[in-house]
């Protein structure tokens, strides 16, 4: 029982600290799940993010379900997911009920301009740490650059990029022989 409560609390913590969508969750998640608790490895986190991109629903929710399942099975997945959305639901309810002009408040706007600067530094730091697990040789470097450029300069759907990269990886490895790791 207590493990479920811990799962809920840890993910509620991640939820409350995530400003600016799924990707902003990555640095917090890395800290709480990989570094502090060893609930998942760096490469697993990357896998979950990749799958979260091309499956229905929100990346934050998908990643929480994965890690919850890994810890405590189906129920764990549900508990972790409820944990990650819990703070947002409470906060939005309060805002909807009392603070209609919340987003127009100038102080809040200033604070969030500051937060945005911080979030992008944190994301790049997290990417640089994940990089070592993802870009292991020349083909993966090529793939990284190709996907980065395509997602910045074209409007190809993310799902397509993810699926093509998976196929590229599988084809390259099987043509080269060997494979595995």
């Amino acid at each position: 029982m207590s493990e479920y409560i811990q799962l809920f609390i840890v993910f509620a913590k991640v939820g409350v600290m995530t400003f600016g969508g799924g990707y902003a969750m990555l640095p917090i998640l890395r800290r709480e799940i990989v570094e502090k608790r060893s609930w998942a490895e760096e490469d697993e986190l990357l896998d979950y993010f990749a799958i979260g991109q091309c499956t229905p629903g929100i990346i934050a929710v998908n990643t929480a379900t994965f890690i919850g399942c890994k810890r405590k099975g189906v129920l764990g997945g549900i508990v972790a997911t409820l944990g990650v959305v819990f703070p947002s639901v409470v906060i939005i309810m309060i805002i909807a009920a009392f603070l209609q002009s919340f987003a127009d408040n100038q102080t809040i706007k200033y604070a969030f301009c500051g937060i945005r600067v911080c979030v992008c530094v944190l994301i790049f730091d997290a990417v640089s740490k994940l990089w070592k697990k993802a870009v292991v040789d020349r083909p993966t470097l090529l793939l990284f650059c190709a996907v980065l450029l395509l997602s910045l300069f074209t409007s190809l759907p993310v799902v397509l990029l993810v699926i093509l990269s998976g196929i590229a990886g599988a084809v390259y490895k099987s043509v080269k022989g060997g494979g595995g790791k």
Binding site: C69, M93, I95, A96, V121, G166
Partner: protein, 188 residues
């Protein structure tokens, strides 16, 4: 009855929006014109609120819509509907992966997926970078504006802080919020 409808309406959004928060937007516009539960103005307000509160846009939006249509029970039902399809799909994929993770083809697919995943995260970081330093409209005056200069100095300090200390990311987020208010950073 309206709760049931809310649940299924948001479950279908959850099922068909692939690729994160902003992917839910087209569905929300459609829902607005179908049901009249909220206006398109409500949607832009909600995007602003979502940017200024923790949590994913889809969850915030479903809570808000649920609340204005059916009060607190609605505010709980909306997000529950939204997350139900993902939880089911991901749970199935998880058990599939557990079973086949030693499989060579599965490992080879991940060999390709990981750099793609890192690249997509980097791309998202770059688009936030643009928003954070330049804002949504670009003109050359931006580089000499006070907000830009303060932001660049802040970014350098945060980067040094992240590299040199073991502080939790939330510490840097809180300090940046304070700095934003103190220096009146106004990137629009």
């Amino acid at each position: 009855m309206i709760l049931l409808y809310l649940f299924f309406r948001f479950a279908s959004v959850g099922l068909f929006s692939v690729g994160g928060g902003l992917a839910t937007l087209p569905f929300l516009y459609e829902m607005s014109s179908d049901t009249g539960w909220f206006t398109t103005g409500d949607i832009s307000n909600m995007i602003a609120v979502s940017e200024s509160t923790p949590g994913p846009l889809g969850i915030n939006m479903s809570t808000y819509v649920g609340y204005i249509t059916a009060g607190i029970p609605g505010a709980v039902t909306g997000p529950l509907g939204l997350i139900t399809p993902s939880v089911v799909v991901i749970t199935v994929i998880f058990y599939f992966l557990e079973r086949f993770k030693e499989n060579k083809t599965v490992q080879n697919v991940f060999y390709g997926l990981r750099p793609a995943s890192a690249a997509l995260i980097a791309a998202a970081g770059l688009s936030i970078l643009k928003l954070a330093f330049i804002g949504s409209s670009f003109d050359t005056g931006v580089f000499t504006s006070r907000s830009f200069i303060v932001s660049v100095i802040m970014a350098a300090l945060i980067y040094a802080g992240v590299k040199k200390t073991k502080l939790h990311p939330i510490v840097f987020i809180a300090l940046s919020a304070a700095a934003g208010v103190i220096f009146g950073i106004n990137t629009v």
